[in-house]
Amino acid sequence: MAWFKRSPWILHYNATSCNGCDTEVIVSLTPLYDLERFGIINTGNPKHADILAVTGSVNEKSVQVLKNLYDQMPNPKVIVAVGLCAISGCVFQDCYNVMGGVDKVLPVDVYVPGCAARPEAIIDGVIMACEILEKKYREQKKRRG
């Protein structure tokens, strides 16, 4: 865990999720699974967040909200797509109001599979996101000299 230098905060947004993955994101942050032991907490403010956890695929209306949230987050930032809907649309991919996975509109770094994604998988995804975040910090530092 040498790379684990900071405690990133999570911003969670439900794009068109069915609540299944949302509750699992909350569960992974609360006592039994406890992501908070790494100092990772759920924040409601995009300006404090480092990791954006998106559940559910994107639809016509949530796309603008999602883009706003992404733009308001400070650099560097990592996007985690939680659940099958966020990856490809799951059973809803034929619906008229579903545009598909989150990667259609935002650059996704980590994909967490599952319908609903299990808390263990979410924790794994977030820890992977920490690693990517650290890499992005290094690249940013190199760019700035």
């Binding site: 947004y13 068109t16 069915c18 609540n19 299944g20 995009p46 639809n59």
Partner: protein, 359 residues
């Protein structure tokens, strides 16, 4: 008169697990009007019934909502079974009842947690989420999944719960009950919680009736409305009693849900005692031809599933009317005149389930 200002609330907000947007028209600290706007999570899954086989569609119905997932598949299956005239085996009906009541327990515990978070009682939120895991463990042991169960099917259920497992579930319930009594005592007796909830978001019995409230919202205002009295699934063999409070404020809604958790645990005990031996599913032949409204009681209130078929494998129409949708007018009424600090409490005590509402 003070100048009116508009404060946007949502779609992304710390107390809201799901996106809904309100324009709160404010005069100083008081809300004079609230304009809701929805469709942030609209997927259009009702149209999907034209593209999916009616047997496969149970999996889509399961995914209408993650918190009351089992109830939606049960409602859909009931409607299809009623059209096709299928006699579901008794054991399947009991199993459905047990899973439905467990869903109610975990949904209400989740609500207690989120509500505690809304009025700023974080440790209570954490404790509630910890207790909820006991129910999810039962789901995982009996169905293999934690939230989206996928265990209901047209003509019965996909899996049986054997007698030993059933005894194991029943043996766990007293521990869960004792733990719940501990945290519910905090909800009921804590001074600061009472201060935040008593008298807030009042809805009278007449308003609850005329605005069409359902579920705990209606029962907290003194209307004894509970679809479980219709006797669907195995409820006709169990002693279901309405949980009614009369004060109609946020505190009463909280009390109704806490008492319902204990009542659901009691119903699971009863069902586990009375469950008969026998088959748990039925082979389904043919396709539905006709239409039916199925009404069941979700954790949030009455849900209606309307299904219409024309004798082919692909149904023509599927429609869901969910409890949150019926409760929104009452919530708008309660929001008017409340203080800005009470807005999260009033919205949360409705127990909004936006993904059900917008589908």
């Amino acid at each position: 008169m003070a100048r009116k200002t508009i404060i946007p609330f949502g779609p992304q907000h710390p107390v809201l697990p799901e996106p809904i947007h309100f324009d709160l028209v404010m005069e100083d600290e008081t809300v004079v009007d609230a304009v809701p706007s929805i469709s942030y999570v609209h997927r259009g899954l009702e149209r999907l019934i034209e593209k999916r086989d009616f047997v496969d569609f149970v999996h889509v119905a399961d995914r209408i909502c993650g918190l009351c997932s089992f109830m939606h598949s049960m409602g859909y299956c009931q409607a299809v079974e009623e059209i096709m005239g299928i006699e579901v085996p008794e054991r399947a009906l009991y199993l459905r009842t047990i899973w439905a009541e467990l869903s109610r327990v975990h949904s209400h515990i989740f609500w207690l947690g989120v509500a505690a978070d809304a009025f700023g009682f974080e440790s209570l939120f954490m404790q509630s989420m910890r207790l909820r895991e006991a129910v999810l463990d039962v789901f995982e042991a009996t169905t293999g999944a934690r939230v989206i169960l996928g265990v209901c099917k047209v003509g019965g259920v996909r899996r049986d719960i054997d007698t030993d497992t059933l005894h194991g579930i029943v043996d766990r319930l007293p521990t869960l009950k004792a733990n719940l009594e501990e945290i519910s005592a905090v909800f009921i007796n804590d001074y600061s919680i009472q201060h935040r909830l008593i008298g807030v978001g009042y809805i009278s019995k007449e308003d609850a009736y005329t605005l069409g409230c359902v579920g705990p919202m209606a029962r907290a205002s003194g209307l004894a409305m509970d679809m479980r009295f219709l006797g669907y699934a195995a409820y006709k063999y169990l002693d279901v009693e309405p949980i009614v409070e009369s004060t109609g404020d946020c505190y009463a809604r909280c009390l109704v849900r806490i008492r319902e958790i204990f009542h659901s645990i009691d119903l699971i005990h009863q069902a586990a005692e009375k469950i008969p031996e026998g088959p748990f599913d039925l082979k389904v032949k043919g396709a539905p031809n006709g239409e039916f409204f199925s009404r069941i009681e979700q954790p949030r209130g009455e849900v209606i599933h309307y299904v219409k078929g024309n004798g082919s494998r692909f149904l023509q129409r599927f429609r869901v009317r969910v409890p949150t949708f019926s409760n929104i007018p009452a919530m708008i009424k309660a929001l008017k005149g409340s203080g800005i600090a009470d807005v999260p409490n009033i919205i949360l005590t409705l127990d909004p389930c936006i993904s059900c509402t917008e589908r």
